[in-house]
Amino acid sequence: MTPRPGREEDPDRLYTLTSGRSRPVSDAFDLVTLVVAECDPVPGMQSEHAAILRICRRPTAVVELAADLGLPVGITQVLLCDLLDTGRISARHPRTVRTAAQLPDPEILEQVLVGLRNL
């Protein structure tokens, strides 16, 4: 895929947002970890942090946040780590296994099946 126009300018801005960090220090956030704000934005807060706190007044998946912020997933995860470290958000992690050899909980599969049939 050829880079989109303007893409070349992006890295500088992204590095500024995260003080040079391109990857989160831990795998604390899955794509579908649901993030919940534990406080309101305060004046002087980095605008992306404030936006996350506003969006996450209701549980919001990491991937939805990334789409709303217009930021790559990895950068969004770095911003979330900042907020988690300072207790401004909490994270509801997926209750599924992360290794390939293990199959999902039958109870969860049953819930999904019921949910799909009710669509």
């Binding site: 895929m1 970890t33 209701r58 549980p59 919001t60 990334a66 509801r92 293990q102 199959l103 819930q111």
Partner: protein, 214 residues
């Protein structure tokens, strides 16, 4: 894309601002819809999603690019892949995210980072271009991700199920179904087939199931 109007199950996706999740939502699940370019991945996501599909991207940084020599990007410092997604609220606590993931080679270097813990995958195939799907199937097998294959009906020549299975070297246990990705009902049926397949696998491997117990 044109939508037929005779099928009441056809919906272009909900309009307006998207509804927030239930305040009690605490468990996110993933299903990946993959396949070749233009095979209907986003269309299928749109057909069943409760929100208008969103788009985001992830960047493969230098460390990842170094192993991506086959795709000819080994000298780049980063590569970006974009993907679409939608969601289905299963119940007040559980929400299922559907990801439309491109089937190109370089995408698979991001698979573990993005899609570890995925319940399973749908490989959407266009029978006029079966070759586009082969790589996705190979990679899913490599990652040990359970999947079903869905033939999206583009009105091409009808191949027998056996012909398609042969062409894709599909293992006997892998379900192969026909679908119309534009139809909500049809796309829903594909997802139900996948979940039933997962149940079958789960029942056949009780030990794997025990290992998942908390």
């Amino acid at each position: 894309m044109d939508y037929a109007t005779s099928d009441p199950g056809l919906v272009p996706g909900p309009p307006g601002p998207r509804a927030p999740l239930d305040a009690s939502a605490d468990n996110g699940l993933k299903i990946v819809i993959t396949g070749g370019f233009g095979v209907g991945k986003t269309t299928m996501v749109r057909s069943v999603s409760e929100i208008r599909p969103l788009n985001t991207e992830e960047t493969m940084t230098q460390a990842g690019a170094a192993v991506d020599d086959l795709a000819g990007v080994g000298t780049k410092s980063s590569t970006t892949v974009a993907f679409d997604f939608g969601r289905i609220s299963v119940n007040a606590r559980t929400v299922l995210y559907l990801f439309g993931a491109p089937g190109q080679e370089r995408f698979w270097f991001l698979w573990d980072r993005l899609f570890s813990g995925t319940l399973g995958a749908v490989v959407l195939v266009d029978t006029r271009r079966l070759d586009d799907s082969w790589y996705a199937i190979d990679r899913l097998e490599h990652h040990g991700t359970p999947f079903v294959v869905a033939r999206n009906d583009f009105g091409g020549p009808k191949h027998s199920e056996e012909q398609v299975r042969d062409a894709l070297s599909l293992a006997d246990g892998v379900p192969l179904v026909d679908c119309d990705a534009r139809s909500r009902q049809s796309s829903k049926d594909v997802l139900i087939t996948l979940v039933q397949h997962l149940q079958t696998l789960s029942a056949a491997h009780p030990r794997a199931r025990e290992m998942t117990a908390p």
